[in-house]
């Protein structure tokens, strides 16, 4: 059992939870994730460790409400417990001084991007970040990203904040302007697909952090498999980061929808339950 020690609302649908997990806080590196199970009936879902405080023995998760489990988690209040949490999982980000890095985060993808931006900045890179969302209230962690970026460009679909336009438009502006040595892209599958096409066009080495469906998170089930460079890889143990230009995004997007019907049913059932209360 892991205790929630503090909670912060980033937007209506995005919540940050600081959770007691001393061993994980100590062992984790940028790029790692945990598997959590909310309660005895809960499913196991992966969440990136957004930051950690080794002195306090806590880690921070940033969670976007998309279905039953993420809603249960975002409803937790300080003092309450997460039933199970295991980690840190996955391969840590490869960090070195590349030169100039273009870091792109879409939606809640900014949360997993944050520790990577921090690590890249500390390794001596010039970091230019593009953060994008549908509208102003969905832009999260702006100040934290700014703290580790030399420049931040904000894009919103509706123009309610920063520039109006897609993440790829913001990326193009920077790529036209200066030489980029490396790019990191994290966000919804569809955003990563198009953003990767942009960097590919300009021959910029790029990593993406994939968000496939997981069950155990330790390599035991193969639910998370994805084709990278024509080979099947397990995102939980071989990833979650891969060479963006080798990933079969269409296959990944298709597999992400594999349980849509079941998820919809579960969500409807959960709504009924919440309504009754």
């Amino acid at each position: 059992m892991n205790k929630v020690v503090s909670k912060q609302h980033f937007s209506e649908n995005v919540v940050s939870l600081e959770i007691e997990a001393p061993r994980i806080a100590k062992a984790r590196k940028a790029g790692h994730f945990v598997m959590v199970r909310t309660d005895e009936k809960g499913e196991r879902i992966p969440l990136t460790i957004s930051s950690a405080d080794t002195a306090k023995g806590t880690i921070t998760l940033v969670i976007q409400k998309v279905g039953v489990t993420s809603r249960k988690l975002t409803a937790l209040e300080p003092g309450e417990f997460i039933h199970d949490m295991v980690g840190p999982l996955g391969q840590a980000t490869h960090v070195e001084n590349f030169g100039t890095v273009l870091a792109c985060g879409g939606g809640v993808g900014v949360a997993p991007l944050l520790p990577i931006v921090e690590a890249l900045k500390k390794a001596g890179n010039r970091v230019v970040s593009v953060i994008a969302a549908r509208s102003k209230d969905l832009i999260i962690l702006e100040d934290q990203i700014r703290a580790y970026s030399d420049e931040v460009v904000i894009m919103t679909d509706d123009g309610s904040y920063g520039q109006k336009g897609l993440v790829t438009e913001g990326m193009e502006q920077i790529i036209q302007r200066e030489k980029i040595d490396q790019s990191v892209i994290i966000g919804p599958g569809i955003m990563m697909k198009f953003a990767s096409m942009t960097t590919k066009k300009h021959n910029i080495p790029t990593i993406v952090s994939l968000n496939t469906i997981m069950v155990d998170g330790t390599g035991m089930c193969g639910a998370c498999r994805v084709s990278v460079g024509g080979k099947t890889r397990f995102v939980c143990v071989d990833g979650p980061e891969f060479d963006a230009h080798e990933v079969d995004f269409d296959e990944m997007l298709m597999r992400l929808n594999g349980y849509k019907n079941e998820e919809k049913e579960a969500d409807d059932a959960y709504n009924c339950q919440v309504d009754k209360k």
Binding site: E43, V86, V215, D216, G219
Partner: protein, 465 residues
């Protein structure tokens, strides 16, 4: 004379039609009367060959004679002298290849062997149901901390013996449940979780400590655990990685490993109302493979509501590695067997979900290394069958987490840990290992045997320190 005239008992079973749609245990267990009768078949051989067929050397005639005399609790005690999980082994051991294959009846008279497995289960269940579980005696605490990586049968057996020797034993388990494959793999209708929990509870009473959600090599390294005072390590991390066939279309939606399928149902409770984890409930489910895992998957498919559940296996029924009883139960429940067939490609619909399988016919050629006749594809024999869910159950590989985190550890080219055959010590002196991580996919009882031998030799090693 009279003893040998008796015929072998038939295990009472839930009716095939009903059980195929529910999770009740298929074998319902012998009645005391049936058990006593069956026990009286055993002629208490002067040289009981059955014992040599049991990997942990249970004193089989002794426990059977306990049963014949009606001393059921003594029978359970006899079993526990050598086997920490008799209720489990009585259910899942491939007895027809082990103890029963070496029984006098089988060997000398070519008759059906004494039902050793059924009797073992009977004695263990009798003890469990009476609530009077005998807890083995534990030596005075010696204050030495040892860690067990993984809570499958290898780790549990090791922990039991080390607790008896007086060690402070900590089992560290990656998942949120204790039991390894016994919990996440083998289904409820064959091995109820409650049966495993009773055995785990016994270990707890003996002082064994359990920590779930702890991945050795990730949450903490062996070196960090050494610094926390652990003096010895037993790695029983299993062979939990699923293999795929790497054929076109294998990543389509609706194609999953048996590990994923069984984990969703057994560990995560996906078939139970009110549980959050989903599972695909196909109507036309095809399972690829012929081992226990394949049988468990195909029978699970029926219980999840499949109209049709089919096994595709590339050899013939005779070469199937699954327990004979499992194959028989599957047949009774209506599973179709497409033997001497092999999938070569999966075909999806416009949403990327599997809808068909291209299958190739096989014939048997020369025996291979395993001694079984090897399957050879028949050219030009390909045809297409329909399927909406496919479960791939073609074997498992050793868990790489521990070798990855311990670069000095000697590993074979199959990824299994290399150990001394007698002592189960690895190339790192304070690290011992056993079970599937050493053998590749094997059996529950072999894993337990390894755990016990490793405990004996680690005890010696630590005493010598």
């Amino acid at each position: 004379k009279e003893r040998t005239d008796l015929t072998r008992v038939k295990m009472p079973e839930a009716p095939a039609r009903e059980r195929a749609r529910s999770y009740v245990e298929v074998n319902s267990g012998l009645t005391p009367e049936q058990a006593i009768n069956e026990a009286s078949r055993c002629i208490d051989c002067a040289n009981p060959t059955c014992i040599s067929g049991c990997p942990v050397g249970i004193n089989i005639p002794k426990f059977i004679k306990n049963i014949e005399r009606g001393e059921f609790l003594d029978a359970a005690r006899t079993l526990k002298e050598t086997n920490a999980l008799p209720a489990v082994c009585g259910r899942v051991c491939p007895q027809e290849k082990q103890c029963e294959a070496s029984c006098f009846y089988q060997v000398k008279m070519n008759r059906e062997p004494v039902a050793i497995g059924y009797l073992e289960r009977f004695a263990a269940d009798f003890e469990q149901s009476g609530g009077e579980i005998s807890i083995p005696e534990v030596a005075a605490a010696n204050g030495t901390k040892v860690a067990v990586v993984g809570s499958g049968p290898a780790g549990l057996a090791f922990a039991g013996d080390m607790a008896k020797f007086g060690y402070d034993v900590h089992i560290l388990e990656a998942l949120h449940e204790i039991g390894g494959v016994l919990k996440y793999g083998i289904p409820e209708f064959r091995l109820p979780n409650g049966v495993v929990d009773v055995e785990i509870e016994s270990l707890r009473k003996m002082g064994v400590q359990f920590e779930t959600n702890f991945i050795v090599g990730k949450t903490a390294t062996i070196q960090e655990l050494r610094e926390e005072g652990f003096k010895g390590f037993f790695v029983g991390s299993g062979a939990g990685l699923p293999r795929f066939m790497n054929i076109p279309g294998e990543n389509l939606v609706g194609i999953l490993s048996s590990n994923e399928y069984l984990t969703r149902v057994n560990l995560m409770g996906a078939s139970t109302q009110g549980m959050d984890t989903p599972v695909m409930r196909g109507k036309n489910v095809v399972v690829i493979g012929g081992g226990n895992t394949a049988m468990d998957s195909v029978r699970t498919a029926l219980r999840l509501g499949a109209d049709k559940a089919t096994i595709i296996y590339r050899r013939s029924l005779e070469e199937m590695p699954a327990r004979v009883e499992e194959v028989k139960h599957a047949q009774e429940e209506g599973v179709e067997f497409l033997t001497l067939n092999n999938p070569v490609e999966y075909i999806g619909d416009d949403k990327g979900r599997v809808k068909q399988i291209r299958v190739q016919k096989m014939e048997l050629g020369e025996p291979d290394q395993s001694g079984r006749r090897s399957p050879v594809p028949v050219e030009g024999s390909e045809y297409i069958i329909d399927a909406d869910t496919v479960v791939v159950s073609v074997g498992v590989s050793p868990n790489p987490l521990i070798p990855q985190s311990l670069p000095d550890l000697k590993v074979s080219r199959w990824g299994t840990l290399v150990v001394d055959e007698e002592t189960f010590q690895t190339s790192i002196p304070d690290v011992f290992a056993g079970g599937d991580i050493v053998r590749g996919g094997a059996t529950v009882i072999l894993a337990m045997g390894d755990g016990r031998k490793a405990a004996a030799s680690m005890h010696q090693y630590l005493q010598g320190q």
